[in-house]
Symmetry: C2
Amino acid sequence: MDVLSVGRGGPHVFVVDLSDPTLDDQDRHHLGRVLRLRDGDDLTLGDGAGRWCRAVYRLSEDPEPVGDVVAVPPSEPAVTVGFALIKGGRPEMVVQKLTELGVDRILPLSADRSVVQWDEAKASAQVERFRRVAREAAMQSRRAWLPTVEGVAAARDVQPAVGVVFAEPGGDPIDGSVRVLLVGPEGGWTDEELIGHPTVGLGPTVLRAETAAISAGTLLTALRDGRVSPPG
Amino acid sequence: MDVLSVGRGGPHVFVVDLSDPTLDDQDRHHLGRVLRLRDGDDLTLGDGAGRWCRAVYRLSEDPEPVGDVVAVPPSEPAVTVGFALIKGGRPEMVVQKLTELGVDRILPLSADRSVVQWDEAKASAQVERFRRVAREAAMQSRRAWLPTVEGVAAARDVQPAVGVVFAEPGGDPIDGSVRVLLVGPEGGWTDEELIGHPTVGLGPTVLRAETAAISAGTLLTALRDGRVSPPG
């Protein structure tokens, strides 16, 4: 379970080094000005790679770790959701929700029908933005592990592999073998993109691309965690 | 399956009377100016109560029904998602997503920790707004049935009943008996609100209220439609 085993421990913040924690400027502002923590208040610190500890907030100083560092194993098996970047889409919202839901790896995709075509500089800036959104969402949802946000890849370059499936209306239900689920643009995948890949359906209604991605993350993590089972 | 049994049939629009269809101003604008339909293009008309037919778009006239009216039975059993209205929340987005996912009834709730307290006029205006959002989302997702959007109710007034459960961290997994799933504000339900109600969990991570509601709609409709099973 990729989540802190602590109930009321105050806000959760990622730092680079748990033994010598330094808040970055944005987190310092958030804790002090938005959440209005006071000197001596509880918080938890994590390294985003499974390790966390309790700490005490200090005004105009870095937080003071207290107690032992706890190591949380990553969720097993890791699950990936890919989603096609679309014009007018809300990709930051999708990244935020997938992170909250416990998805381990997030794969922004360019699809034949994506409409958006970013050059390298724009794609790189967007991915940096997605990583900041994922970091904030992982802290807010109290995850011990930061999800991996990959660089933008072309859906056509995804190689067929065991557990890799494309979401497509009329596909089979998701089963327990799916590890990587890719959600297309509203116009759907092209035949070329689907070559060699099994498809799964996300229900009978027509979903917006962003809704399909969140639905995929919900079902994939629920199946992985045993909160639901594949259809009998 | 509450969805049109037609693939490429053009956009789907709700009208009051299928035998004498009249587009409302907003839909007329959307079809003509946004989707840029041309005289003779296909569309489908629905009454939002399970009946639909194919039609032909006419410039500066109402659409012309063609072919038989098809009656789609409602999804069985009907499922309801309730969600607490919160300050700074995105309730329209939640209504939109729940509609796309195939939820049959949507229940906006005021909770003890909702923070927002609307007077009657404001609540009524908001519910009208939610109904417009649900109507648009039902057309976009090609549903034959419009979901019911109830007026704002207090979570404290929800009576314990078979199949009615409150989402709460640490609750049991959702099983096939759940018909009404209520999602609280980020601060959680108060003990008073939970009196007499079973609880279900939506996973180990801490979800934003809006993410919890979408996750609830995804799992409830997937269980209802047999796309996943309760945990074994």
